[in-house]
């Protein structure tokens, strides 16, 4: 299954929750926020929100800036 994560094409094993995706990617679950198809996925939805074929995901963090 294909999905675009942070602007890059990824091949995923199949539909999976946002929580499972973060684990698969080796991403921390705290200190990040996620949007799927331009909609924010709340932290409380990580284990219920499902990533599907063709989805676009953004996984962001706070970085230094002015």
């Amino acid at each position: 299954m294909k999905a675009t994560i942070n602007g890059r094409a990824h091949e995923l094993p199949g539909e999976l929750t946002v929580a499972a995706l973060l684990e698969l990617l080796g991403s921390p679950t705290s200190g990040v926020a996620v949007a799927r198809n331009d909609r924010v996925v709340r932290h409380s939805e990580y284990s219920s929100d499902v990533v599907r074929e063709g989805d676009r995901l953004e996984i962001i963090q706070a970085v230094a800036g002015g």
Partner: protein, 262 residues
Amino acid sequence: MSADVLRLGRYDFVSRLIVGTGKYPSLDVMQAAHDASGAEIVTVAIRRINLDDAGGRTLLDYIDRDRYTILPNTAGCYCADDAVLTAQLARELLSTDLIKLEVIGDAQTLYPDTRGTLVAAERLVAEKFTVLPYIGDDPIACRQLEELGCAAVMPLAAPIGSGLGVCNPYSIAIIKQRAKIPVIVDAGVGTASDAAIAMELGVDALLMNTGIARARDPVLMATAMKHATIAGRQAFLAGRMEKRLFADASSPMQDLIGTQAR
């Protein structure tokens, strides 16, 4: 005298200096500079995580959230849609409704896209954000942002990172004269005198990053900026003397010792 408070939406602050987290030689220096600045608000940017190198200490480990209010920005966004999504992600990440709205119009000047800023501001206000927009030194754009419900306007003093100081004090003064919401000079302050000049115009606060971070000694410059911001504020409140063309002696002109008639 009642406390001189900076009110941004429903938040009150004593310090009138807001500082960034970018461009420091190290995060330890940044932390020390933040401490020296006396700031109560620090800005951060929002970016995609690096999936090849996730983990390790992050910026947020260097910001004591009991001491500082974090102000996320939408820097790097070139359209309203990106800025709104960035703001929404920042709110989820940092549990704050504060957002420094930037919609950039041009990579070389980093001047704001006024139309995009207005569009994004309207949407973010509707979503109950406390919106602090970066904008040109344009009194009309500032008035429009105020009418949309922004909590402050943040006109630039000079291009971001330029350190050129207050290039157009007349526009900044007009903006301040007419605004009913706080005016925060954002971008362009290069050294302490720039900070004092801006504050003497009567603006409510300053936001700076490069002026401190790229000083030879950022911690010492942060101290200087703290004092300059306070000095400029106090000078504004004190009300400066009128300028005159000719001298006006400070010592009495009567009863002078005179050996020769004049």
